[in-house]
Chain length 316, copies 4
């Protein structure tokens, strides 16, 4: 198994959890999904996130799904498992179980009730104590989902307090300034450097985030080749190519990031692409209308055309 | 085992979950706690509620605790189990497991993300479908904890839609008007009559709620004899005795209902009374200071004195 | 006019704003209300608070009301004016206007959008700058109304940053520990001492707050003689009398503090007592039902009887 | 003056409020801004919205600004004024004042405390009563800002109850389905047809919203020619041109719609374009960093290039 450490970079793709039409876990699609993501060039996977419908799974289903993903990945890239839980006993239990199966680390978001800086810092002291010194973990900063706002100062305190926190999943908006502050603090040696993977608005600010010092992306999108391509173009120093690629995918990415139906859009696209057998989302969850599907079809055609134009234009 | 049905009345006591000083489940104290509650005259028990630290237990711990409670109760009163969960698969799993162990029914609160009437009604249609026709259930209306406000109209729609919803746990504030409206609707025959057990502010409005038509209380307080006594005095038609008893306990009840440290106060009192071995609350959870404990000591002494005065004064 | 400074103590009563049955400002009742409050022994008044329906007044009405209160008070006690506003220009305008009329200071709560410690501290730096060095002000800590949680550390930073912040209106729950921490910090000389007036749950924890070091109360209740009496008994060192008085009023105080209809209860009681001519609350606002009014009548009779008993029992 | 009625279509541009570097109202820039917007082809203006920093203005400043805008517009297009207020007396006062000055109507969002369908409907009954039969008004549905979710059913009830509600400003996400439902209801004759102007995500879904039946857009963006062009291309039946134009502006529009710094980005762009003299935002408000400004510069250059390409490609 791959270790998760502070040197992580590239694209840690947040996977969906495939279900069949009856809503049961689809383990065959789990395999094809893993194959697809790895073939697209991602450098890691994140499972059981919000977009992985983690809270809709039983404990046994969670374990079965993680086990299947890990078996298919077979150590080729690190796999991070979402372990946020309302209590520390369930967090510990899930963590122990997935680490034993071969996960590379876990990801934890603040509990939704936290408000003050001191409450947040105290919470992550308990997280660090719960996970122990041997489990590398990712701090998930996602105020839209949790309602918890963590200032740069708080994030730096958490990193200082938590020897095994090796990564920040950065999803705050406006987050570019925040990203700059945190990166600058480690550059000045004020805090240990952690990997920062960005996911602001579901990747809708990726070029700008890379320019501010993000090491890559941790987010989902039915076209992971976008994030991979953007990260590679940026690493190659080609700013215009970075933006050209990003802009070509942006209309569809924007549509997939709609609050509410986003996950249904993503699964629909993955099913259309043959990555998973069914676009089924567990209840309570969104369903697409015929008009939504027509929107997606138009955007997909346009995206394909725009990408062909870019190829034809060649390097600027 | 006792069935939960719409005729339920009296006091359904919301139990704590006892832990030892190391934070492990204390099953011996579980037995003594059940004995104490039953001896106090309660007509039912509710376990794994918010004040039962349900979210801090692993699935295995939840099952072990429910099993122990049911064994000790041995069918003498109905036992309701909190089954709110972010997804329907875990809700179903927990429900199946506790009903198989002999629970009388479950209790479900709306998911915190729900807002509009239609969203709430649709959610409980899925709850009813998930639980199936054979599991009697209690609708928990507790906006302070969930953030979800259910209007009387919505509650009546849920009851109409859900043949196995037999009880409303009423905890909204200001809730007296709401309680009146719901009771009036069944009195006019517009909706099936369900049991309404009140818990507004943790029982801080019990005399008024009974006067508006509540069938009893479902709440916690380290002195369950208060709720039992108040319900009995009310049933006996003795309004002044109802209030005299209530008022005698009110200063301490108010202190126990403080947001934040309330559960620690309750467990401290239960430990002081010898009901459970330790006042331990699992992290993240409140701790009492010396000043808090001094407050409680003073209030307890005053309560004892006031109750003795009332006994001495005799019936008004 | 009286100055507001850090030595303030006793009861700063939060006034209602009287309207006639047509919803117009009732300035005659404003006079009788001021007379009543001053006769009850309060040491200050606070106007245009949340319970003063401040946001329902036009700017001209606010000024007319404050002017009338100040004229009637005629310098006998300090008058604090609520000046929270979504923008600093309106805050400055209102402050200038009421200070020119003779107010003793203003009260400001954090804007509801604030979350992190740094955001809150930055906000109050702007408040201090807006109000300038010559306007004494009260920091209002009322998370139930604002949604903003200020940790003790943040409150201490605000006091340190704000030379003209002279008072903390403490309304957080659980707030006793917070009050202790802030008081201890000034006792150790770590921060300038400010007056702390308590209003937790609308005064429902007054005896305990005084014991933790509060200098008095800033809250409303239709029986201000309760707060005055409790503060005096406490100052006289008579702990049992403090609690006896408090407990006698607690059942009605609890009823008046119900979220939602509380203000209607308070105005109903003030109208019943002849303090104001009409119980009218401006829309959108609560209305009492016949059942509510019957509840209040019963509680009032019981309160009178209990107070008579206490008088008869005499000093413990 | 132009009347606001249910036939409104095209682009109702939400204006900023220009300040000088010292933070004072800049009335000269107000004129140039109005000229710029009208020259770009907008069919209406909306002032004193959230992005107009309405809450940071004193009542006198609001009136002075509206007066200046109306004088400059001189009846060429309708002007809608944001009139949301925490109380009905201030709402009435502002409405009377701006209608007397020649405004075409007002816009009202639900109060942030509203939750249930019945609460929301009752609130807008009071709004209709407050505004009276002669003031045409726009219902603003903007849950991200207000926290209030209005279901399609609720919006239809409000329209049915409010004879002078002539327009829906639709900003909910995911809002496409909602828009379809509301449009279908009037097409089936179940409810009076109102104008629907869309602003989902600040215009980030404009092509899709038009396809679902929106009559145009009500939103802000420093390039109003985008919204005007998109609406015209759509009206001309040229779906590909609609999307081509939209996509060309999308990268910058997305950047301008960042929560937090969006308004600073918009004012920076307007100042760069010479529309207003200063990008100044009143406190509390965001400031751009050098890195933000570099981002904007790059996106602007790329946008200009992409638009030139489109012109060169000509009609598809």
């Amino acid at each position: 198994m791959k270790t998760l450490d502070a040197s992580a970079s590239g694209v840690y793709l947040i996977t969906v959890t495939p279900f069949n039409e009856q809503g049961a876990l689809d383990l065959v699609s789990t395999d094809s999904m893993v194959d697809f993501y790895l073939a697209s060039g991602v450098t890691g996977l994140t499972v059981l996130g919000i977009m992985g419908e983690a809270t809709k799974l039983t404990a046994a289903e969670s374990t079965r799904f993680v086990e299947r993903v890990l078996a298919r990945v077979a150590g080729r890239v690190p796999v991070v498992v979402g372990a946020s839980a309302p209590g520390f006993a369930p967090m510990r239990e899930l963590t122990d179980s997935v680490m034993a199966l071969g996960a590379s680390g876990v990801m934890v978001a603040p509990a939704p009730t936290l408000r003050t800086d001191d409450q947040i810092v105290a919470y992550f002291e308990m997280v660090q104590e719960t996970l122990g010194p041997d489990v590398p973990w990712t701090l998930q900063d996602h105020p839209v989902a949790t309602g918890v706002q963590m200032s740069p100062a708080v994030i730096l305190r958490i990193i200082a307090n938590s020897p095994s926190c090796v990564m920040l999943k950065h999803e705050d908006c406006p987050g570019l300034a925040k990203l700059s502050v945190i990166r600058a603090a480690s550059q000045r040696g004020e805090v240990r450097r952690v990997s920062i993977l960005a996911g602001n608005g579901g990747g809708l600010f990726l070029p700008e985030e890379l320019a501010r010092g993000a090491d890559g992306a941790m987010t989902g999108f039915a076209y992971p080749e976008m994030m991979v391509g953007v990260c590679r173009a940026f690493a190659a120093g080609d700013a215009e190519r970075t933006h050209d690629l990003f802009d070509a995918y942006l209309p569809l990415a924007r549509y997939e990031q709609q609050p509410g139906i986003g996950l249904a859009v993503r699964k629909h696209l993955l099913a259309e692409r043959g990555v998973i057998a069914s676009a089924s989302v567990r209840k309570p969850g969104p369903k697409l209308s015929a008009a939504d599907i027509a929107d997606i079809a138009r955007l997909t055609v346009r995206q394909t055309r725009r990408l062909a134009q870019l190829d034809h234009e060649g390097p600027a």
